[in-house]
């Protein structure tokens, strides 16, 4: 049989939390932000300097994405391009269905109204109260008067500013000002939220409240959050962590999914002894595939090109022998298959059929080989596991 199981099909002990499933569901959706071959330059002539290099990035509805990277790595430039605060020079940037470089200036102004901006410097209007500053964003949405007041009051209360709603920024602490700025950005429940160090000026509790609100908007409003931070306290809230260095994305990790993949892998005998870093590397290199019910994932006799892990769904393993076709196993969440053909170099020895819509992670032959080569133990374990099944 050309398949193996890391865990027993119906024995997954880690019920996927609601959040993870939301992301998983979100992964099936069209990206709300699609960045393709995006490059950006500052200056001109001899002073022209490339800041972003062929960036590709898909972010789906409901994702909370944290961007990290050293200063000058291009994070802020990318954020300002997505926010239509700069003009796209090269490549494609599609947000909420709008191709940004095809929009007129007035359309871009309208587009920005659907985005929640949180800036590192709060930049509140010093002449307006906390309530009025929040109303400034609601005003753009043509919210009725009483609703405007209620919404502004509600969000300020959530952020612990109920005693300060009629205070002007000069009478607020740095943290309180930043919370008002957060309230201004989130009051309209925007579909996309772009934030630059939103928790930098906040204490632990306030920072947590802000990130929980962002998280809540992702889950209840399908909002997408893209935030730059160096605050390690909030990394746990990320669905995806994108690391940029020198204008390039050097890693793009779907955190929750990566953790889920690692959990599945580590529960198997095959991968149990691998170091966490190796598992993470493998998880990062795996690609998401969604196969509809009734479709074949692999076919017996085909050359082996990928290794598969079932993230969600049920599949049948079918072996054809002469005219006879026999189902030999049913695989579910956490099971993997396809490694035999990769290890032996022989064609697939079984077919796998999706019984329902199935979400899979695949690792191509090259990366599978690299994973094996990187760990002798892994290779031995894999071979042992394989030969034990012969």
């Amino acid at each position: 049989m050309g398949t193996s199981t890391g865990t027993r099909p119906q024995d997954s002990k880690s019920p996927p939390p609601h959040r993870k499933m939301t992301i998983l569901d979100g992964l099936k959706k069209e990206p709300v932000i699609r960045v393709q071959r995006l490059s950006h330059y500052y200056g001109s002539g001899d002073n022209k300097k490339q800041i972003l290099f062929d960036i590709d990035l898909d972010i789906r509805p409901g994702e909370l994405v944290i961007m990290t990277g050293p200063s000058g790595s291009g994070k802020s430039t990318l954020l300002s391009l997505i926010g239509a605060l700069r003009t796209v020079q090269e490549g494609s940037l599609r947000v909420m269905g709008h191709e940004l470089n095809q929009m007129t200036p007035s359309q871009l102004v309208q587009y920005r109204r659907d985005i929640g901006f949180i800036f590192q410097m709060h930049n509140l209007f010093e002449s307006l109260t906390a309530m009025e500053n929040v109303k400034m964003s609601l005003q753009l949405k043509k919210v009725p008067r009483t609703e405007k007041r209620d919404q502004a009051g509600h969000i300020l209360n959530r952020l612990g500013l109920e005693e300060r709603i009629h205070y002007k920024p000069e009478s607020l602490s740095g943290g309180q000002r930043q919370r008002v700025a957060v309230a201004r950005a989130l009051a309209t429940r925007p579909r996309v939220i772009l934030a630059d160090e939103p928790t930098a000026a906040l204490d632990k509790e306030s920072g947590k409240t802000v990130v929980e609100m962002l998280r809540e908007l992702c889950e209840t409003n399908d909002s997408t959050v893209l935030l730059i931070t160096h605050d390690n306290r909030i990394l746990d809230f990320a669905d995806r962590i994108v690391n940029m260095v020198d204008g390039r994305i050097v890693s793009n990790v779907l955190v929750a999914e990566s953790v889920a993949i690692c959990e599945f892998l580590i529960k198997s005998n095959l991968f149990a002894n691998l170091a966490a870093s190796t598992l993470t590397d493998i998880a990062q290199k795996m690609e998401l595939e969604i196969v509809s019910a009734g479709k074949w994932v692999i076919r017996q006799g085909d050359p082996g090109d990928k290794f598969y892990l079932i993230r969600k769904g049920i599949t049948d393993v079918v072996v054809r022998s002469g005219a006879e076709t026999k189902k030999v196993a049913t695989l579910g969440e956490g099971n993997f298959f396809g490694e035999a053909a990769l290890l032996t170099g022989e064609p697939r020895n079984a077919s796998v059929l999706a019984k329902e819509e199935t979400v899979l992670y695949s690792l191509d032959k090259e990366n599978f080989q690299m994973a094996i080569d990187s760990s002798k133990t892994f290779k031995e374990q894999l071979l042992n596991a394989f030969y034990q099944r012969q």
Partner: protein
């Protein structure tokens, strides 16, 4: 329903946020408004004062020499016979003459001689509309007597009834006073009979010449006749040497002369423009500084979806609020100063609706203009710099 009142009053909030800055801004605008009111007031006063003499004369048509551009500045003589000729026109009830001249009045206290306007008339004919003057015409028939404008400048010394002084080295007695006021060409006025006036000329040739000439002719028309037709007829008859003007025309001519024919009108006009410019600069400075201080804040609301138009509109609203708030104290202060000047200088300083509307208009244009210029800075607010 959503109305403008629902909106966050950002222009008002920006303006009133810093009370000290607001007070400075308002003081600046008020000063500019005051400056404009003063200039407009002086100009208006100049124009009013130069025609106030014409306004007390009783005539439907006025005869002046073609060489005369102003009855208060360069009155030129014409043949007295023309006035008698005018009497022959059908519909003319009366035609009388007035001598206008300047003579030296001796201050009885310091003995300094100052130029004073002399208006000489035939006291048998009431050529004035002012009842106070007309009631004293009988006194003017005496030898060497005058009526003196009680609003004449103080440098003429005592001018009340009973004062005796020299006019052109001839002793005169003041037999009464009237109220006229000074203008930019005359510090004082006396009225005397034509007989006494001619006595001032010692040179025989000069006297003979003066007998035959006058500076102003006043014609009263029968109300039942057509004024325009008589005016046309006279114009044809006197086309060679005279202008025949209605009351409105001669007043307009006088105002035009001071406004356009002398640098005085230009100077006050320039003063108004200077007030406008000063106000524009003050208003611009206030708004520009405010924008500069809030550039990041403006950039932020630009980022979240407010248009440049909204931001520029906010600054213009700020400027218009400043204009109105600065105009009101400027108006009040101007009224006080007008009153003081009027009392001190005996100039007709009147604050009319036209002046108020003019200065309000200038203030609004000044503020809105400076707001628009300052608002250009908002276009520099780059939200891209916020990240």
């Amino acid at each position: 329903m959503r109305t403008r009142l629902d909106k966050v009053p950002i222009a008002w909030a920006n303006l009133t946020h810093n009370h000290k800055n607001l007070a400075n801004a308002l003081a600046g605008i008020t000063f500019a408004v005051l400056l404009m009111f003063m200039q407009v007031g002086f100009l208006n006063s100049l124009l009013d004062s130069t025609v106030q003499f014409l306004k007390i004369l009783d005539g439907d048509l006025f005869l002046i020499s073609k060489q005369t551009a102003s009855t208060s500045d360069n009155e030129e003589p014409f043949a007295r016979a023309r006035v008698f000729q005018a009497r022959r026109f059908p519909g003319v009830l009366q035609a009388h003459y007035v001598h206008l001249d300047r003579k030296f009045w001796k201050n009885t206290e310091n003995h300094l001689k100052k130029n004073i306007r002399v208006v000489a008339i035939d006291p048998d004919v009431p050529v004035f509309l002012d009842p106070e003057i007309n009631s004293q015409l009988e006194d003017l028939k005496k030898d060497d007597v005058v009526l003196v404008d009680r609003l004449s400048k103080k440098h003429f010394g005592p001018i009340t009834k009973g004062v005796r002084t020299e006019i052109e080295d001839r002793m005169f007695s003041v037999v009464g006073n009237f109220t006229l006021g000074t203008d930019f060409g005359h510090s004082g006025t006396v009225i005397m009979s034509d007989k006494n006036f001619l006595n001032l000329f010692k040179d025989e040739d000069e006297l003979n010449a003066e007998r035959k000439r006058v500076e102003l002719g006043l014609i009263k028309i029968d109300p039942a006749t057509n004024l325009q037709r008589i005016q046309e007829d006279m114009r044809k008859e006197f086309a060679q040497d005279l202008l025949v003007l209605t009351r409105e025309e001669i007043i307009a001519m006088e105002r035009y002369y001071w406004l356009e024919g002398t640098p005085v009108g230009f100077v006050f006009g320039l003063g108004t423009v200077m007030g406008f410019i000063v106000g524009t600069i003050i208003c611009y400075q206030v708004l520009f500084t405010d924008i500069l201080n809030r550039l990041q804040q403006f950039a932020t609301i630009k980022a979240i979806g407010y248009s440049n138009r909204y931001l520029v509109g906010t600054v213009v609203r700020q400027s218009l609020i400043l204009a109105v708030l600065g105009f009101l104290p400027g108006l009040l202060l101007s009224q006080v100063i007008y009153h003081i000047i009027s009392r001190l200088l005996h100039l007709p300083m009147n604050l009319g609706e036209v002046q108020v509307i003019l200065v309000l208009g200038l203030t609004l244009v000044m503020s809105a203009g400076s707001g628009l210029i300052a608002a250009r800075k908002i276009l520099d607010a780059d939200p891209a710099e916020l990240f």
